[in-house]
């Protein structure tokens, strides 16, 4: 294909044009060959004419010499005239040659010269052309040079002849020596001329042979060109055509095999190309049509399958009988309902299979009646009839039968349902409704039933009548609005809208006004139910009038309590201020007293002063601890606490104590939790307790750990200290309860109480595991989510 690509335009023209083109090229080449031939013939003919002219020229010259000699001997004037006559030939040719040498030669003179040279007039034009065209060709050029030399000899000869003629005219043939001398000159010239004539002939001859050769070669080349291009064009066109056709054949074979994907390659824009493209279009159309057909077939198949699936999975039994009342279709549901397999009943009469014996006759009568009159009272509508199972049991069947005509025959399609369960359900429903009414009427909660469509009371229970005060007759048939028992009707109407959308509402508060005008607060729950085929709102009204009163009282109490708490808090601050002041005064003045007067007093007085200031300081600590205790939980900010960092801070605060007591404290990685800032005091109290109650004889060791459960963190602070007897485990958390004397262990007895309050503030628990002498472990929990 590549071979043709550079002649694209050629590919795309029509085949007839291609053929015309090929023939045109051939004709042109042949014309060129013929013209060349004609030209060659003309040229050769002119060469021949020149050779002839040379002959005439030589003959004229020889005859002239002969007559001159004759004249030289005879002295007769006729002989000289003859000489002159013959000399005309070379002289005429000479005229032509000289004219030809001019830049713009006169044709008439040229022709005249050659005709005087006795050349045939038909040859003259060719000779002139040859002379003019080829005077640069070496052979012609040489010949012309020879010709010019000959002409100069002719001139000499003419001169000698004239001398002879003059001599003879004056003195006759009296002086033969003189004549002889002249003749000798002429002989010399003649000899020279003969040589030149030979040279001219041979040069021209060589020229003509060269020309012949040249022409032959040209003709050969042209002939070969004609042959080759003819052949090339033929091959090219035929290959093009056959390639296109082969492609079409190939593709048609493929199509024949049913392969539509292949397309014919279009090699050209000619008729073959157009044919290929039409062919391709035809294949595409064919393919599309095949596809459409396939799809249509698939659709038909799918539909068939759909219908089959519907038939097989229909929730109802589908039974089809023909005009002879024979069963022709029997779906799986029919098998399930009746207990007969399709193959058992196909072809059997319907009445023998599913109609109870007592109805068979009537059925057949009806069937015949329809076939004759086309009237069927049980057709085209749902009917309920008893039907027979394979095991001869009967059941209530919901049946609808449609007759249909197919190819002139009647068919009957029956849809059959076992409705015995529905009958049962209806019965159950009735029982349930009865139960409902029994509960409704005996309920200790007020209840009402209102029709959804018009908001009118249908039914109310005894409790409702009691509460509202109207009689049943006064209530039923009226709407809620007409009865005027709702205080806030707008709110109630909103609830009605909600219930119509959602089907139920739960526990909304409503104020009702009873017949005597008293306000009753109720919680109303409503549900939409179908009762006797009508949509109704069933409402129950829970009397919360009393509850409401209690709630209000509770709210008031709670506010009072909060107020009193606030007062208590303020009291604690003020108390701390006022309680601290006298103590500080005592300490200040004891100090001042000791500083100024100690030397003037009894030695015992120092000890007394010490008792005073120690007691005072303890009182200060007690008050401070009490104040701290009262303040737990005042700042209600839950913060994120990294317990590792918190422990670090506490240990830094206590670093001096820890160093002095050489206590070793170990801990596992603790969690990051949410809690109150008081956790710091909790950690501090537990650690300082563990240090304070260490055993004096062994190294003190405290380990702290925490683990998380789903809902809370469990912390443990374990020590190897003196331990606590289990009977005191509860007491340690009670304020000011100490297990040891002030002398043994200093302290206010408030630390663990604070711990308990802090843990409980978080909603956690604190406890301990300990035995006397065996160390203690304090546990506490902090919930992962803290309730405010």
């Amino acid at each position: 294909m590549k071979n043709y690509s550079n002649s694209g335009w050629f590919k795309n023209i029509s085949i007839s044009k291609k053929l015309y083109f090929a023939i045109g090229v051939m004709a042109l080449l042949i014309a060129i060959e013929l013209l060349t031939l004609l030209f060659s013939i003309n040229t050769l003919s002119s060469v021949r004419a020149f050779v002839g002219a040379e002959g005439l020229w030589s003959k004229g010259q020889k005859d002239a010499v002969y007559n001159l000699r004759k004249y030289a001997r005879s002295g007769h004037e006729e002989d000289y005239e003859a000489f002159r006559y013959y000399m005309k030939v070379p002289l005429g040719d000479r005229k032509t040659r000289i004219e030809m040498g001019k830049s713009n030669p006169n044709i008439t003179i040229l022709r005249k010269g050659f005709i005087e040279g006795r050349n045939h007039p038909d040859d003259v034009d060719g000779m002139i052309k040859l002379f003019r065209r080829f005077h640069n060709i070496s052979y012609i050029h040489d010949a012309i040079v020879i010709w010019a030399q000959a002409d100069s000899s002719i001139s000499q000869m003419q001169k000698s002849a004239e001398q002879i003629h003059t001599l003879i005219s004056l003195s006759g043939i009296s002086s033969p020596e003189k004549t002889e001398e002249n003749l000798n000159t002429i002989n010399e010239i003649n000899k020279k001329l003969t040589v030149l004539e030979d040279a001219f002939s041979s040069t021209l001859g060589e020229g003509s042979r060269w020309l012949e050769n040249l022409i032959l070669r040209i003709l050969l080349i042209i002939a070969i060109t004609v042959e080759v291009s003819g052949l090339w064009l033929t091959i090219s066109i035929s290959r093009n055509i056959s390639k296109g056709i082969k492609e079409i054949i190939r593709v048609s074979e493929e199509v024949g095999k049913g392969i539509f994907k292949t397309k014919a390659t279009i090699y050209s824009g000619d008729e073959i190309g157009q044919l290929a493209s039409s062919f391709n279009k035809m294949i595409s159309d064919l393919e599309r049509k095949m596809l459409e057909k396939e799809q249509a077939e698939i659709q038909i198949k799918e539909r068939e399958e759909q219908i089959k699936t519907i038939f097989e999975n229909a929730p109802e039994a589908v039974v089809v009988i023909n005009q002879q009342e024979q069963i022709i279709q029997w779906n799986p549901r029919a098998e399930a309902i009746f207990g007969w397999k399709a193959e058992e009943v196909t072809g059997k009469h319907l009445h023998e299979i599913i109609i109870p014996h007592r109805f068979r006759e009537a059925h057949l009568r009806g069937f015949k009646h329809f076939l004759t009159t086309h009237e069927g009272p049980v057709l085209n509508k749902p009917v309920e009839l008893p039907a027979l199972r394979k095991d001869n049991t009967e059941f209530d069947a919901g049946i609808s039968i449609s007759p249909t005509v197919f190819k002139g025959d009647y068919f009957f399609i029956g849809f059959i349902n076992d409705i015995s369960y529905r009958k049962t359900a209806e019965k159950k429903l009735k029982e349930s409704e009865e139960k409902f009414y029994s509960i409704f009427h005996s309920s200790s909660v007020s209840m009402s039933i209102v029709r959804l469509s018009d908001n009118k009371f249908i039914e109310v229970n005894k409790k409702f009548i009691e509460t509202i005060g109207f009689t049943k007759e006064e209530i039923t048939g009226k709407t809620i609005a007409e009865l005027g028992i709702i205080v806030t009707l707008e709110i109630f109407n909103d609830f009605l809208k909600t219930i119509k959308k959602t089907g139920a509402t739960l526990d909304f508060e409503l104020s009702l006004r009873n017949k005597s005008g008293a306000i009753i607060n109720v919680l109303v729950s409503m549900t939409v139910m179908e009762i006797n085929g009508e949509k109704c709102i069933v409402a129950n009204y829970y009397d919360i009038t009393e509850k409401k009163q209690i709630e209000v009282a509770l709210q008031k109490k709670s506010e009072e309590l909060e107020h009193s708490n606030k007062e208590l808090e303020h009291f604690a601050y003020v108390a701390s201020h006022d309680l601290q002041e006298p103590l500080r005064t005592i300490i200040n003045y004891v100090g001042l007293f000791r500083k100024r007067y100690i030397e003037k007093l009894d030695p015992n007085s120092d000890e007394f002063l010490n008792f005073i200031s120690e007691a005072t300081k303890r009182m200060q600590t007690l008050i401070k601890d009490l104040l701290d205790y009262s303040r737990i939980g005042v700042e209600k900010n839950i913060i994120e606490i990294d317990c590792n960092k918190l422990l670090g801070l506490v240990l830094t605060d206590m670093s001096i104590t820890i160093e002095n007591t050489k206590c070793q404290i170990k801990w596992e990685v603790l969690p990051v939790i949410y809690g109150y800032q008081e956790l710091r005091s909790l950690f501090q109290n537990l650690i300082s307790n563990a240090i304070k109650y260490r055993k004096k004889d062994i190294p003190c060791l405290i380990s702290i750990s925490a683990k998380g459960t789903e809902k809370e963190w469990l912390f443990s602070f374990k020590d190897n200290g003196i331990g606590i007897d289990p009977k005191y485990h509860e007491r340690v958390f009670i304020i000011f309860q100490k297990l040891h004397s002030q002398k043994e262990y200093e302290g206010t007895g408030i630390g663990l109480t604070q711990c308990k309050k802090i843990v409980e503030l978080h909603g956690g628990k604190i406890w301990l595991e300990s035995e006397l002498g065996k160390g203690s472990t304090f546990y506490f929990t902090i919930p992962k989510t803290i309730q405010l």
Partner: protein, 132 residues
Amino acid sequence: MKKFNSILLIDDNPAENNYNKIVIEDMNIADNIEIAENGLDALNYLNNTNNPFPELIILDLYIPKMNGWEFIEEYRKFDSIKKSDTILVILSNTSNPADIKRAKEIKEVTDFELKPLNSHKLNEILERNFKK
């Protein structure tokens, strides 16, 4: 050591005032020490132009008639030129964070110290406020 022309002590407890007076006298840092038992007395003293305007006022917060806060409100009304050489220090029992926070927000309150006063605390106050 800085020597004050006059120091005003405001506290309702005479024992407290007397003690504080002794501490200051022992340090020998004042020419004159005045005592007021409540805010109102203190205000009267300050308003009397015959009295030298004190360079240090030591004020308790919880005192009768006019408490510390009320006194500060009145004190703020004094001409700032008059007050330019004076520092006001609260000396109180309260460790209530709310009180400390409130005191810090008042420009006129230079310092806040917890009772009891002693030479060490007083030196620190002087260090902080009269470094030059």
